[in-house]
Amino acid sequence: MGATAGIMAASMLAALAVSILITVLGARFLARRAEHLLGSSPRTSLMELFYTLQAWSWREIVLTLRRAESGKPAEHPMGSPVASPPLLDQVAFDPATFHPNASPHTRDIRLDTEIGPRSARPLRLSLPVLIAPMGYGIALSADTKVVLAQVSSVAGSAASSGEGPYLPEERAYAQRWILQWSKGPWNHSRAVIRLADMVEIHLGQGAEAEIAVHKNRRLPRRLKRMAGKQSIVIRAGIPRSFPHLLPYLRRVNPQIPIGVKIPASQHVEADLAVLAALSVDFITLDGSEAGSAGSPAVISDHFGIPTAVAVKRARDWMNRHQVRHISLIASGGAKGAADIAKLLALGADAVDVGSAVLFALSHGQLAKFVPSFPQGPSALVFADSKAHPHPQLDIGQAVLHASRWFEATAQELRVILQALGLDTVRDLSRSALIARSSQAASLLELPTAEHPATGRLTQQVASLAQEYQRLLPSLELQFSLLQSRRHA
């Protein structure tokens, strides 16, 4: 017995010694290879990846490979990076202290707002957040649309049809339902217009500008049945009938707000002038950060101006021209309460949120993909044909999580307003914001954390003019005294 134990101990020690030797020699071999690799020509070794990633982002590499695979314009979902860090992250809030007085209230901070105040039945929201338009079939699955409709009702927000066809269950669940008048082949009947609480004419969007959209793959069978064909075409540009469209929609449903969605462009002021003349009730500006289920990357990543800049310029133009009856909706890039509050402070009346709500509703269900399904988590919410099986969305769980996201966002908005000393979300203004970078300061004309005297030029000119105004009466007095003495 003792001899056997001794033999076993000796064998184990020998095995340990051998494994240590192999490890040491192996590590030395690998180190030598790595050293050789670092010194070798990058054209013929893995080191080229190092140089590639210095010049290329993973994003561009993946898009390039996608183009090579399909021979078609590459697409990607979930928005585009416009600035790094994102422009809204380059802005901070100015906390209330003695000036302006911090409000003592911790309750009764109001978040309600309304879109289209001039219309007979404005769209009243419990908080200034709208669920971004994402159409059935061309973007989201029917289950996801049902979730969003239910969430909109319990959160006091509104659901939108997006560019997809009419879903009766979405209308049934949503207490407030926005019809997006798309250039697709559906949703143009008088009945659908009459069922809407607001109509948004979709002329274009940040991720697609105003190009045509063709879809023939991954379309659900129900969508094809509704469209009556195998492929979908959403036409490009501004429809010829556009000048007559607004009066037509008003005739069919005269009580509700009717507005337009456009991509945020460098000539946003000119666009606003045209739309204001048409007497729209609201304008949605879709910034270049906005995503879609699949838009050409050459458009979504390389066109337009950031949402924050568009909103700021639009509000400036509207103030200059005393346009107070048109509501402004910001769309694209808002990830949470802080971004929403910043966009409201820059001049928006409400903010569209898309990706964040999709993330929230998917919470707790992503583990279903591992290890059986090769798709990304977005397969849970995006529309697809039955040829690509993927886990089913648990509607109940999704509604609970997305509702909690709304609840948390409302609480966070109240916390922000409390820290700013404000009682209502409508009091948010640009004076609550500080630029954290020179880029944000110049794009959004915000003061930086530097001494106000070294702030932007316009501020300096304004304060100079104020000083002169104060000085003017005393100068006039002195002048008149001098004149009177001379006459005397």
């Binding site: 319990v154 959160a155 009419y166 269950e169 209308r171 049934a172 207490q175 009945a191 659908v192 609970l400």
Partner: protein
């Protein structure tokens, strides 16, 4: 072939489809059922969802499209926009107008959230799956007070009998079930519960015995009761009244006001107050080929599933009698309801007291709860087409 269209596939619509199938057999007319949902939500079960069991919400969906199609009926999923009684067409949101020879309207009453300033679906509710789920989720969080409020019923002045509240049973059921659940959690002593009703007594449609029992039970369980409520506005955390101090409540659960049907108003088929003016057979007073079934009908009082099922039976038997030259039986309403009390008990009421009769049977106990559970599961298993229908 005679074209029959049924609008709505909940209690009333489903029972109408059943009776058409049952009476006419395989030689039934051309039947089309229209609803915006292919899955019916079995609403009586939602009270258990609102009472802290949100995950049960999705257990109570019944595949009504499949049920109808199995019986050879056509199912159209769409929103119903307008009825044109002259052209005998139903206008839908995304389909061509649907022609009919006989129409059964069973689309229910629209919730009148907007009739009380500040009230909305986001105030909390129980009458739809998503509202009950939300309420059931909310009560898991700490709170100190909750109100179970019943909206008013906007009846036409000439309607008889008179009922003040839209539907009070769910509010009492959730309050009792939640009371039992909170006690089990050891949280009940820290929560103030109040039921608010526009009616002068609890259980106004049931009868004096049931009302007296409800009053005693509310008192025994320390659930406050506000009667004759006249709401002026609602805000986050408070309900305001015309003639009393506001009620402060951290959480709320509303049975919304019922103010008739937008579809009827838009179609010019209502009685001036949004309700379907029906005779004793459910036939429209101006259009003899249109029947009203369930909550939408001015004669459906109280707005219970049992009443809707009885009305469907009366209406289809009337239609059948006309086709076969028979003599139909008029609508003879009586209330049959089991109200959950929690702790495994229920209150069974069979009563014609509301309609001027003098009978009321009331029984409280486990057997009543078992009867209700059996009906609920039976309804789900048979997709609403049970072997024995009321």
């Amino acid at each position: 072939m005679h074209k029959v269209v049924i609008l709505g596939a909940r209690f009333g619509g489903s029972a109408t489809a059943y009776w058409l199938h049952n009476l006419f057999g395989r030689r039934h007319p051309d039947i089309t059922v229209v609803d915006q949902w292919t899955m019916m939500t079995y609403r009586p079960a939602l009270v258990t969802v609102a009472a802290a069991h949100p995950s049960l919400a999705d257990n109570w969906h019944i595949a009504m499209q499949r049920r109808c199609e199995l019986a050879g009926q056509r199912f159209v999923r769409d929103s119903i926009f307008r009825i044109d009684p002259q052209k005998q067409q139903v206008h839908l949101a995304s389909h061509r107008p649907l022609p009919y020879d006989t129409l059964f309207v069973a689309t229910g009453s629209d919730p009148g959230w907007q009739t009380i300033p500040g009230l909305g679906a986001d105030s909390g509710g129980v009458c739809e799956d998503y509202l009950a789920r939300q309420t059931g989720d909310q009560v898991h969080k700490p709170f100190r007070s909750i109100a179970f409020a019943i909206g008013p019923l906007a009846q036409a002045p000439q309607d008889h009998p008179r009922v003040s509240g839209s539907l009070d049973a769910p509010a009492f059921e959730v309050s009792f079930l939640l009371d039992a659940w909170l006690r089990k959690q050891g949280r009940r002593s820290g929560v103030t519960m109040t039921v608010v009703t526009p009616a002068p007594i609890p259980g106004e449609a049931f009868g004096p015995k049931s009302s007296a029992f409800l009053l005693r039970e509310l008192g025994r369980r320390h659930i406050a009761l506000i009667t004759n409520a006249r709401y002026t506005r609602v805000e986050s955390g408070a309900i305001h009244f015309a003639d009393r101090k506001p009620l402060h409540a951290e959480k709320m659960m509303w049975v919304p006001p019922y103010h008739g049907s937008k579809l009827l108003r838009l179609s010019g088929l209502d009685d001036g107050y949004g309700w379907f003016p029906a005779d004793q057979y459910g036939v429209h007073r101006e259009w003899p080929n249109i029947y009203g079934v369930g909550d939408i009908s001015s004669s459906a009082l109280p707005k219970l599933g049992h009443i809707a099922m009885m009305q469907a039976r009366t209406a289809v038997h009337h239609f059948y009698a006309l086709q076969r030259h028979g003599t139909p039986a008029p609508f003879r309403p009586y209330v049959l309801h089991v109200l959950w009390l929690g702790h495994g008990k229920g209150m069974l009421t069979i009563s014609n007291w509301l309609y001027g009769g003098g009978r009321e049977l009331m029984h409280v106990g486990v057997s009543s709860a078992l009867a209700k559970a059996a009906f609920d599961y039976g309804y789900k298993v048979f997709s609403g087409w049970m072997p024995v229908m009321p």
